[in-house]
């Protein structure tokens, strides 16, 4: 009993070449409205999509616009903001398409789910390397302070945050939201959809509180990013971690909405799992800057 | 015993010819060693070259043999051998042993080059500027300002006298005593430079914000030529370095006169 399901065009300007891919053939001719005999292989031959090219054009506009803006060229700022908007738009519609293909059209069989699963793991590993680079820079310059900053760390005249004020306060909030996301995960596994939504709301609110405190901390910080190597390494490491907290929060908000709409089931919630892994990565990473930059780096 | 005899007679014959301490037309080998470090470099080169020749001969033998065996007319049907675990083990283990033999002398030399001499007799600072070198002899001054400093510009081509080499001569040479431990402090005033004298085996990078130390022990008196070895703008190729090693007595008088000239 194969469900006849209609494949409507994903993008009005493009006519869909093949429907659900009769007999696994990408090059079947004519628009097939009924899937008489579904494909034999479990892979998902994606329909042609404009989002890769639009994403790269957005990236091009952002980079060129960014350079023009920083060199105060005419129109640099507009090109930069246009590029950023275009990238955000591409992300939005591309991932909307992925949700359609997976949840609404059911193309994501077990074999296809491996793709986003490995993809998110590798992405998180690359994020680990990304943040590791900044922690390396911070410890490189703090372990052997150069002569120009007096051979001492932190350099004289740099106002250093007391680690036991807001930074210490900020450190348990993230793991608590980590616990909340684990609660959500088990709620999904136990088919308690409504509880999972509540758990995700708790996770997101804790994350927003943590970002709020981080912003307050930056606002009250006596030094800023252009105050010697201390400022740049401090704000780069903690800033990018904060940025990743924001990315994780957005990811979790999307999962919350999808959970509310019933997209996530006990058997198939790869999107949520990726968000949970990402969130645990962000939790654990928080401990390193607290110990090495706030605490040790501030003595 | 007779090896020393031959070496002695050979070196006696060469002594009459001046050792080459500067770049020469059609020069293939390295310049003659003026310091023990340079001598070590030349010996290492010979060690490694020995292994290179061995490998070259062996590999070309195997290459020719393979071409021969897979020649279309002589052996039309190739053998179907795909694996050979023992030969595979041999051709991985053995080639990894050779670099170990090369590594031992090269590490020994490398660490001896980076030695910071325990008690140097003189400290000379070579400050790299964009397109000239400044030298500071500040062991003998009393105040912050009176150290003996002079700039060393290249002698342009049109003011060269006969016998002077093009692009290698300088107006003020670096005068150093021979047979004494020198500490050269090399640092730039602007962009990265590199203070290099091939015959004494020295190439010391001048990195902004860092004072780089290299120790030299010049064995014989003479004039040694070098050039800046770090790209740094238009006249990069026109900033030579000339080190003149003189005996201890001459060094005293030369530097002392210049010091008097400088201070009053």
């Amino acid at each position: 009993m194969s469900l006849a399901c209609q494949i409507e065009g994903k993008f009005p300007f493009f006519t869909t070449l093949g429907g659900g891919g009769l007999k696994g053939g990408l090059h079947t001719t004519g628009a097939k409205w009924f899937m008489i005999e579904s494909q034999r292989h479990s892979y998902h031959l994606v329909d042609p999509s404009p989002w890769p090219i639009s994403g790269s054009l957005g990236a091009l506009a952002t980079t060129v616009g960014g350079v023009m803006y920083m060199h105060s060229f005419q129109g640099g700022a507009t090109l930069l903001s246009l590029g950023l908007i275009f990238i955000l738009y591409t992300m939005l519609v591309w991932w909307r398409d992925v949700l359609r293909e997976s949840t609404l059209e059911g193309h994501h069989t077990k074999a296809v789910q491996l793709g986003p699963r490995y993809g998110s793991i590798l992405f998180i590993v690359s994020e680990v390397m990304f943040l590791f680079a900044f922690f390396w820079a911070s410890s490189h310059s703090s372990l052997a302070p150069t002569v120009e900053i007096g051979g001492i760390w932190p350099p004289k005249g740099i106002g250093v945050l007391d680690p036991w004020e807001i930074p210490f306060l900020n450190t348990p909030i993230l793991p608590s939201s980590g616990a909340a996301v684990t609660w959500a995960h088990h709620a999904i596994l136990a088919k308690k959809e409504k509880r999972a939504v509540l758990a995700l709301v708790a996770t997101v609110s804790l994350a927003l509180v943590s970002t709020g405190f981080q912003g307050m901390e930056y606002y009250q910080a006596p030094s800023n990013i252009s105050d010697s190597i201390y400022g740049s390494t401090f704000f780069l490491a903690t800033g990018f971690h904060g940025f990743h907290v924001i990315i994780g929060t957005l990811f979790l908000i999307i999962c919350g909405i999808r959970q509310y709409l019933g997209h996530l089931t006990k058997e198939h919630h790869v999107g949520f799992e990726a968000a949970a892994w990402y969130w645990h990565f962000v939790d654990v990473v928080r401990l390193f800057p607290f110990v090495s930059i706030y605490w040790w780096g501030g003595i | 015993m007779e090896k020393e005899m031959i070496l002695h007679s050979l070196s006696w014959r060469f002594l009459t010819i001046a050792p080459c301490d500067a770049a020469e037309p059609w020069q293939l080998g390295s310049q003659n060693a003026a310091t023990p470090i340079m001598q070590g470099i030349i010996y290492l080169h010979h060690d490694i070259f020995f292994f290179l020749i061995l490998i070259l001969v062996f590999v070309s033998r195997i290459l020719v043999r393979a071409l021969w065996h897979f020649h279309e007319q002589t052996n039309p049907v190739p053998q179907r051998i795909v694996h050979g675990t023992t030969i595979e083990i041999i051709r991985t283990i053995f080639p990894s042993i050779i670099p170990m033999f090369i590594a031992i002398p090269s590490f020994a030399l490398l660490y001896s080059m980076d030695e910071v001499v325990v008690d140097p007799a003189i400290t000379i600072k070579a400050i790299g500027h964009q397109w000239y070198w400044t030298y500071e002899y500040s062991d003998y001054n009393s105040g912050d300002e009176e150290s003996l400093t002079f700039d060393s510009y290249m002698i342009p081509e049109d003011d060269l006298e006969l016998g002077q080499s093009r692009l290698l001569e300088v107006d003020n040479r670096v005068v150093v005593p021979a047979k004494t431990n020198l500490r050269m402090i090399v640092t730039p005033a602007d962009v990265p430079h590199s203070w290099a004298v091939p015959s004494s085996g020295v190439k010391c990078d001048a990195v902004p914000g860092r004072s780089n130390n290299t120790s030299i022990f010049i064995q014989r008196e003479g004039v040694y030529y070098g050039q800046c070895s770090e790209i740094r703008g238009t006249n990069h190729a026109f900033t030579p370095i000339v080190v003149e090693a003189v005996s201890l007595k001459d060094y005293g008088s030369r530097v002392f006169n210049q010091l008097i000239l400088q201070t009053n």
Binding site: S42, K110, A111 | -
Partner: protein, 106 residues
Amino acid sequence: MPIATGLEREELEAELEGKKRFDMDAPVGPFGTKEAPAVIQSYYDKRIVGCPGGEGEDEHDVVWFWLEKGKPHECPVCSQYFVLEVIGEGGPPDGHGHDDDDDEDH
């Protein structure tokens, strides 16, 4: 029955019935000889098959070849015999042969 649609639904249905909708594992069986060749099941008339060779010592790098209905194939390296057994609808795998409704001419 969990909420699903399309191929994912078919996969879950097969799973509930204990069958395998997409069998991804390599077939395992005795070394195929001329008399008792290794039988490869296929939904179409031909299928790409990889022969990994025998057990232990005479195992060799996988050799890929097209195995067609009615044409037993011998592996060039270890001379293992393969024969195709069509269990599905047959026809060419890329679906060009006999399309159903629109062009009836061939």
